[in-house]
Amino acid sequence: MSYPPPLQAVVDELGRFPGVGPKSAQRIAFWLMRQPHEDVSRLALSLEDMKSKLSFCERCCNIAETGGLCPICADDRRDQTTICVVENPPDVLAVERSGAFHGTYHVLHGVLNPLEGITPDRLRIQELILRLRGPVKEVILCFNSNVEGDATAMYLSRLLQVPGLVVSQPASGLPVGGDLEFADDLTLGRAIDGRRILAD
């Protein structure tokens, strides 16, 4: 037995969300059905607004209002000579939360993953290369510390061999508050490789 078509349509649509299986889709759909009409309308309107009013920043490919720059690219106080390249828009927020970076960003919208068919032409690499015509002095390759992130960093570091341009990568090591004895050996190895001299 299947649900009435309007309900089944919602279950089917929710089931397409990442990480949402048929059971979860069904649970969310029933929850939505129990909500007041105005709450569901507000959700529908916000989804519609998101699609119609948002696009990608013309400069950094981060999320921005359609046809314009994102707030970071539009901010004159940001250091335009440093670009932090990240995989996805949420990574911009993660780096911003650190408060340690004051330059601009570039969002690739993915990392190289041949197993998933993600090759360089499917990433926003060409847009990054065009930005190098500006006053850029340093590009920081800030990806997840995994095989795909490392492969993308290696690919870009060779692609971006331009005179006068520094290409860097954040240090890799132990999380603050983590116990040394519980660190995995790869992370600990990298932390030791990238150690900092405190006294000479």
Partner: protein
């Protein structure tokens, strides 16, 4: 019923799952291909961290109760493959290898021979004395041999004549003479290279920079392995060129 696995394994691929979990597909020495749920592995505080990454050779302690997935209890590196992980071309070669292993339809069916072959090929990719270009192709031929489908390269697979051999057809399983020709045209250099790979001269082949006929051999090996598994592979035959045009600089 609770089922436990304490075994060596190679991580073939991983998928994100939920908020901070990851599902990993492993090829184990004694249990074949198994799927594993690593809870919380994407959190920076996870003890599993970088241990369960594609192309890692690890020792795993897994448990399965309900459901299809094993749960990780402990994972430890056997080999880190630092040379492979520091080269884009070598990582791509590794990806080509694990994609083919993942295509083997054998959940929970062990094949220690394939495991040993996999460990050897990953070791070769990690060996800086070996050029990585021909390693996946060599591995594909070795895997075909292991499965009892070694291509015939000493005579015409159709009529048995000694040659001259001018073509290779993965569908019929080897080289063909001028009268029987079908499939890819094959040069003498490529034919010699395949014979050396299959005939015990692999180490010296892998030491050669741009061996004559290497491009042809890669194409032929790729076609042969796709034909064998009846599946189109995603990993590209050659790495994307890494160049910046002068107008971009």
């Amino acid at each position: 019923m609770i089922k436990e696995i304490d075994d060596d394994a190679v991580v073939l691929r991983t998928y994100k799952s939920g908020e901070s979990d990851r599902i990993a597909v492993l090829w184990t020495r004694k249990h074949g291909k198994v799927r594993v749920l690593a809870k919380g592995i994407r959190k920076s505080t996870s003890r599993l961290g970088g241990n369960l990454e594609p192309l890692a050779y690890v020792h795993v302690d897994l448990v399965k109760s309900r459901g299809e997935l094993y749960i990780t209890r402990h994972v430890q590196h056997r080999e880190r493959y630092p040379v492979m992980r520091s080269s884009y071309e070598r990582i791509n070669a590794g990806y080509a290898v694990v994609e083919v292993i993942d295509a083997i339809p054998s959940d929970d069916v062990a094949d220690e021979g394939i495991f040993e072959l996999l460990i050897r090929v990953l070791g070769s990719i990690d060996d800086e004395h070996f050029v990585p270009d021909l390693i996946p192709a060599s591995f594909f031929f070795k895997l075909l041999s292991h499965d009892g489908s070694e291509p015939v390269v000493d005579n015409c697979v159709n009529c048995g004549s000694a040659g001259p051999l001018v073509a290779f057809n993965a569908q019929v399983g080897g080289t063909l003479c001028a009268n029987c020709r079908s499939g890819h045209a094959i040069s003498h250099d490529a034919l010699v290279l395949i014979r050396r790979i299959l005939g015990g001269d692999l180490a010296s082949v892998l030491r050669e920079q741009s061996a004559p006929g290497a491009g042809e051999v890669m194409t032929i090996a790729h076609d042969a392995i796709e034909q064998h598994f009846g599946k189109r592979l995603k990993v590209t035959r050659a790495s994307a060129p890494i160049t910046l045009s002068s107008s971009d600089q």
